[in-house]
């Protein structure tokens, strides 16, 4: 199916073209041309033996023709492209195995010289093959805004000469962190009515990274983390209502995906991975055990908090500690955190207060969480909790 080839191979094809021409816009136009020709010819003549090779060769040929004919295009093309044009007779063989340059592409898209929202959009556009419209809708942003964001990013890469390369060893750790952060951000953006399944896109990107960097524990662990979370998605809602982990129907969990995730996590641990994604994946895995080893979970959150210095992580640690030492101590920890704008901070405080019988304060905290919530299932869940407290305080006769 051409659709499937398109989805699977867009990133590969584009990456090689960007490597050849040094300009993302030029590469995109060439790739689009090639896919258009494929859409026309393959149903008629059958799919070629090496679809990727065919697409890259066709795209390059098209781009070279345009560079030769069109002054404006030639100006866009850089040194590399002009060399390609001069040597084109020697290099065109559609059965050639082209080197996978997706790593170079993703590091380019996630370069720190680009703003985070540009990194995210560009990664989805170039590696994910999502259309500008799809990305705009996924992030609830007007088409014009997303279009400008993408254009600006591509021009910045071209004008400032952001190198198309995997970063050198001294830069790699920070740059890899940035790439993983983008992928995880995309995963957490989630999905919803009419929106593209960004979680699935993030997993695809995660798989590519794990495949291309098999000796790095963090990409493996990130993929494990995403797979573990994703495997429970069928159980998260029942009739539109939020279902907490302990009440989820485990038959709805994708056991196969969970097993895959655990294999990845073990590989990461075997590589002595100790980074934040390894820890988060280990925590996610621990949450799925019954009964939960809250002590171990709390310990791991502690390690994660040291690494990331994140107040949200400290909050999660407090939640685990509440299960071990009771909500009183945990509430004290929570109250030191600067998370007043974070809805889960308030819902967590509310839960502790509720358990301590401090009903009035709990209702206020639920109210704060409600004010910050942006989706209906959460809203209904919080309202439900508030109602329970009211009924406990004023039982109806």
């Amino acid at each position: 199916m051409l659709e499937d080839v398109f989805r699977a191979e867009w990133g590969r094809v584009l990456a090689t073209l960007v490597g050849s021409f040094g300009d993302i816009e030029l590469a995109e136009e060439a790739a689009q041309d090639a896919f258009a020709v494929a859409a026309e010819r393959w149903p008629r003549d059958g799919q070629p033996a090496n679809p990727v090779g065919w697409l890259i060769t066709t795209a390059r040929n098209r781009a070279i023709d345009r560079i030769r004919r069109d002054r404006a295009f030639a100006d866009k093309a850089d040194q590399l492209a002009r060399e390609l044009v001069d040597h084109s007779e020697e290099t065109m063989d559609e059965t050639m195995q082209f080197r996978d340059e997706r790593l170079e592409l993703i590091f380019t898209c996630c370069h720190p010289a680009l703003a985070l929202d540009a990194q995210v959009a560009l990664t989805l556009r170039t590696l994910g093959g999502l259309s500008t419209d799809e990305i705009a809708r996924a992030f609830l942003v007007p088409f014009e805004t997303m279009s400008k964001r993408l254009t600006r990013a591509k021009h910045k890469i071209r004008d400032a000469v952001i190198p198309f390369a995997v970063p050198s060893d001294d830069l790699l750790p920070d740059r890899l962190d940035a790439v993983l952060a983008v992928v995880y951000l995309i995963f957490n953006q989630g999905w919803g009515e009419g929106r593209v399944d960004l979680a699935a896109e993030a997993i695809r990107l995660g798989r590519a990274l794990a495949e291309l960097m098999p000796d790095e524990p963090e990409p493996l662990a990130l993929l494990a983390l995403m797979l573990l979370n994703d495997s429970r998605r069928a159980a998260r809602f029942r009739n539109g209502e939020l279902v907490l982990l302990d009440e989820q129907d485990r038959n709805l969990w994708d056991q196969g995906q969970m097993d895959d995730a655990r294999v990845l996590l073990r590989r990461a641990l075997a590589q002595h991975g100790k980074g934040p994604y390894v820890i988060q994946a280990a925590i996610a895995d621990l949450h799925l055990e019954t009964p939960r080893d809250w002590g171990e979970i709390a310990t791991l959150y502690g390690v994660l908090a040291e690494l990331t210095r994140s107040p949200v992580v400290e909050m999660n640690r407090a939640v685990a500690l509440a299960e071990v030492d009771g909500p009183e101590a945990a509430l004290e920890l929570l109250d030191e955190l600067p998370l007043d704008d974070y809805r889960y901070f308030h819902s967590t405080r509310a839960d502790f207060l509720r358990r301590l019988g401090r009903t009035t304060e709990a209702r206020i905290a639920y109210g704060r969480a409600l004010a910050l919530t942006d989706n209906d299932p959460e809203r209904r869940f919080l309202e439900g909790r508030m109602l329970e407290l009211e009924e406990a305080a004023w039982p109806s006769e």
Binding site: H111, A113, D159, A160, V161, I162, P163, P167, L171
Partner: protein, 108 residues
């Protein structure tokens, strides 16, 4: 590729001493094509023509606490190389201030 490193800082006029030796050394490297240090922002006069008529204003074009203190032109393979040099320089500067790295438009 050539890049301009625009050095901004907020140092008061009487706080600007001679260039630090470490920075002077860095500026001697072959990748540095030229550099200038500018006097304090308050010494600037801005020439503009907002309504067609020429207007003179006392002070820099952009009114802020930070002012452009110097410009360094360097030659680098790509942005990463330019950023590496800028990062090194920034590490040598007294605290505060920043270096803006902008690619130079070659064709006139």
């Amino acid at each position: 590729m050539k890049y301009a490193l625009l050095a901004y800082n907020a140092a008061a006029a009487d706080q600007r001493g001679p260039i630090m030796p470490a920075i002077a050394e860095a500026l001697e490297r072959s990748k540095v094509k030229s550099w200038v240090r500018l006097q304090h922002g308050e010494s600037a006069t801005t020439v503009s023509s907002p309504d067609g008529k020429t207007l003179l204003t006392d002070g820099p074009f952009v009114d802020s606490k930070e002012y452009l203190g110097g410009v360094i032109v360097i030659e680098a393979e790509n942005l990463d190389e330019a950023l590496a040099f800028a990062t090194e320089l920034q590490g040598l500067m007294r605290s505060g201030g920043a270096l803006e790295v902008r690619p130079i438009l070659e064709d006139r």
